[in-house]
Symmetry: C3
Subunit: 404 residues, 3 copies
Amino acid sequence: MTPGTAPHKVIPIAVDTGTAYGLPAPTSKLTLAQVGAGTPMGELLRRYWHPIGLAADATDTPRQVRVLGEDLILFRDKSGRPGLVYPHCAHRGTSLYYGKVEERGIRCCYHGWLFDVEGHCVEQPCEPELGRARGKVRQPWYPVQEQYGLIWAYLGPADKKPVLPRYDALERLDAGELLEANDASIGGGGPAVVPCNWLQHYENLVDPFHVVVLHSTFSGTQFVAQMAEMPQVTWDTVPLGVRTTSIRTLPDGKVFRRISQAGLPTLRVIPSPRVGRYGRVESLGWVLPIDDHHFRIYVVGRVSEVGELARMRSRMNGKLWEELTEEEHRAMPGDYEAMVSQGAIAHHSEEHLATTDRGIVMLRRLLQQQVDKVQRGEDPAGVSFDPNEPPVVFDAGNYIVEQA
Amino acid sequence: MTPGTAPHKVIPIAVDTGTAYGLPAPTSKLTLAQVGAGTPMGELLRRYWHPIGLAADATDTPRQVRVLGEDLILFRDKSGRPGLVYPHCAHRGTSLYYGKVEERGIRCCYHGWLFDVEGHCVEQPCEPELGRARGKVRQPWYPVQEQYGLIWAYLGPADKKPVLPRYDALERLDAGELLEANDASIGGGGPAVVPCNWLQHYENLVDPFHVVVLHSTFSGTQFVAQMAEMPQVTWDTVPLGVRTTSIRTLPDGKVFRRISQAGLPTLRVIPSPRVGRYGRVESLGWVLPIDDHHFRIYVVGRVSEVGELARMRSRMNGKLWEELTEEEHRAMPGDYEAMVSQGAIAHHSEEHLATTDRGIVMLRRLLQQQVDKVQRGEDPAGVSFDPNEPPVVFDAGNYIVEQA
Amino acid sequence: MTPGTAPHKVIPIAVDTGTAYGLPAPTSKLTLAQVGAGTPMGELLRRYWHPIGLAADATDTPRQVRVLGEDLILFRDKSGRPGLVYPHCAHRGTSLYYGKVEERGIRCCYHGWLFDVEGHCVEQPCEPELGRARGKVRQPWYPVQEQYGLIWAYLGPADKKPVLPRYDALERLDAGELLEANDASIGGGGPAVVPCNWLQHYENLVDPFHVVVLHSTFSGTQFVAQMAEMPQVTWDTVPLGVRTTSIRTLPDGKVFRRISQAGLPTLRVIPSPRVGRYGRVESLGWVLPIDDHHFRIYVVGRVSEVGELARMRSRMNGKLWEELTEEEHRAMPGDYEAMVSQGAIAHHSEEHLATTDRGIVMLRRLLQQQVDKVQRGEDPAGVSFDPNEPPVVFDAGNYIVEQA
């Protein structure tokens, strides 16, 4: 004690720790999240075919679609050929949304230029001789194909166009099965268009633990009782994605082995979480990045009757997502609430990944490798240029093993 | 064949051409499109008077107007003088939209400062002696005039203020004719405020071919049968704009000669496309750029009875634009759909102009010349400082010539 | 006259002055207006406690609040402790808005991580042993306290956390009085959330003249007759704000002395403008900057019965703000209209301050001094670290003096 000062009591004040003061601005792994033309992931995604509509969406009424951040017009000429074109007419930019579909293509409303499904200008009605120079004009377009009840588009460099893959799960039908396509974003947990980045959903595919919490203990058993058990999980990086194997021992001593996969580039290879029957995966889904902040899901499945897929959409208390009140969304959140509330693009800088997030780490690494390949001028995994390429086989399914 | 390699068949794959992959980001001729203060076109437009409201819009209830990207308050003091002032009170910025109009001007609601139609501060009621220094305060204002039932404003440099032009077409009335003003954007094909850049509509004025497609073969005959015939068209750059002459030979062998003009800076000198009678142009219109992404049209015409102009608004199946469903807009698109869907500002970099677009090329060139003149410190075409300037004469009209 | 030229008459044309042409783009005193983390004023405001909700707002249903530009989740665990946390779960970013409140804290819906009110992660249910490393994870949080029926939060640096002030006006109750808290933004003249910068309202507190115009002669007597008299006003900078003294001589010769204060950092120390009784100030208010463009007001007052504060909200013709038509808002504007129409942030560069704005000048100077202090590493006025700090005393009130 300094001489001459009175004794005084020092009250030690605990200083708060861990407060939000000074929290750095969050950042996101944009290299993996952004899908626009010219971005790393956008260029990777543009090396694959993507479903952009149901076959029934291509009609003689032009339809606006947004794919990988690009606005496009989908139609089907009166010869039956689907077409996907840049919306602004090559002449003066009026949207072909207001165009008229004819035998040979789509005609702009403003001055009547007519384009076929490959963008060739076949008529300029106000010009002499219907346009002597019309052959030099091209409406930007993208190639499309129909398969499994969906319209598929390739938005990448023309000389890198792969063959449209076929899938064993959809080629080999059991007795009484038929294929059905659905565009309601089954598996997204909400409406057809989900307002957050596609990667948030794609990562969710390698996360079997959220099923136990979000879909079971937290919001009530949304699927079936056996999914509420905490599983033993292993992940593998396989040539076409990251495979998740979840093992649960059932009350009767049997072992329930569930294998699912996040397939390159956007595939949902997810056996039914309702486990109505054991066996190989019943349906495949494709996450379509609409733009950086929205995605939707197309699903094709083997069903026993038409309408079966539509009945797979999640219900809470018997209600579809859009029928629930805000109060109910909060009391029984699902994938939509969990993922959309991560933000339009999740803040990766703020994450604390744990042992149960190993699949996500592996999936990001795999995606980054594919991005790097494309940047180096190589082809990413899973693209083939061989028209005789056999169907892709996945080993996903819900299986019962008599003994672990 | 290299020794040791097996023979193999090469399948030549046709590589797609003209796809949208790699399409450059579109650009626009902003020098001609943008209208804000300080922009090249904005400064050109600010060298002319513009209609900013009907005479009846200036009342003792302050009215918000947006002109060339500037928000302003229009009112009429209780002495009858119209005023146009900057919205934020010179004192502390409260909007004069909430002001009270009095004999001497407009009073701000917050502290009661009173401004006359030329922005002089004539009272500061909370200040000693009603504001000893009030003479130093000026509410920013613009000069306005009334003519032809419209309020005209000059938003340019004070020392360049031209005389407000008069027009022969509106000064010389035939027996039984009277003048009528209208603010419903007649000719815009939609609602009063059209959400795209003004230039898209202005260019449409020198494009007689779209009438044949958009307004005839595509959406059904919106005007009259003779307008559906493909015309012989010539364009001239005249001192006050670009003039279009369309010649059509009628079934009876007579020649229908239609002359219209895009007048500087924003004039629609368009004879009625309904061709109710032959003769000189019946009405004049002014395209008012509200801001870069919106415009509206004021029209003054010689009519035989009040309300005649309002009945000129386009109808499809008897319905006004706002009464049509989205389905009907798509089945019968008009100027609104054609122009708004070009984008908020058209993508000029993506255009493919053809021989029938010659008028547009000439009009852009004329506008660029006027922009350049102003940039060089010269006066643009059509401004006059002579209070005795005679009315402007246009030779526009629908005429019948017995022989071509 | 030059030889050879004919005589001519020069008409002198008056050139307009003071027009809005060339008006510079407005600027704002962002140093005083902006409230975000890292901004000068934002850091000053973060050195004080702010009310962020009613005590009743902290429940087991998580509530989204926005404070100083930060989005946060307010809740009360089932042990009764209020908590305020960063919305995005430290694990993978799902919002705790969808969390479940438990005895020990709030649980994220996605994978069930559980955080206490100080952000400690107390459970990771999918991880081995409920998360061996969970002790390293912290959900960003802010300290909160309850007082006077409000939840108070401190968003500043942990080592600068002051004691939560108490106020004599709310500690010393007269017979029959009780405290009541209100979150309806009483005094803001509009709805609970006012869409403009907080400073516009805060400055209004040292502006007794607007009462005479805005609330009396302009929109009708909104308060009481004596407030419509033009007062004699003096302002003083006092240690805790700027004090305004308004003197009015009443018809009976008595002197009405009204003292109010804008207290640091956001306090409304405003005696009732309805002057129901004379005496010391009845209530205190705190302006909460929600973000740069929105604020709200919390008020605590001594009342004689519950509900008395709610009845203090302004009415025009018997109607609350939200019950008035646009026409009525324009005919009888109040603080909301005057301040919101200044802009989201007022254009300070365009102001013309007069002698009656002296209080505003003084208040801005005081705020700037406090900002400067914080920037220099000093403590701003009015913060105390002494847990025995006595209640703050204000001399505000409506007083009658027998003689001036």
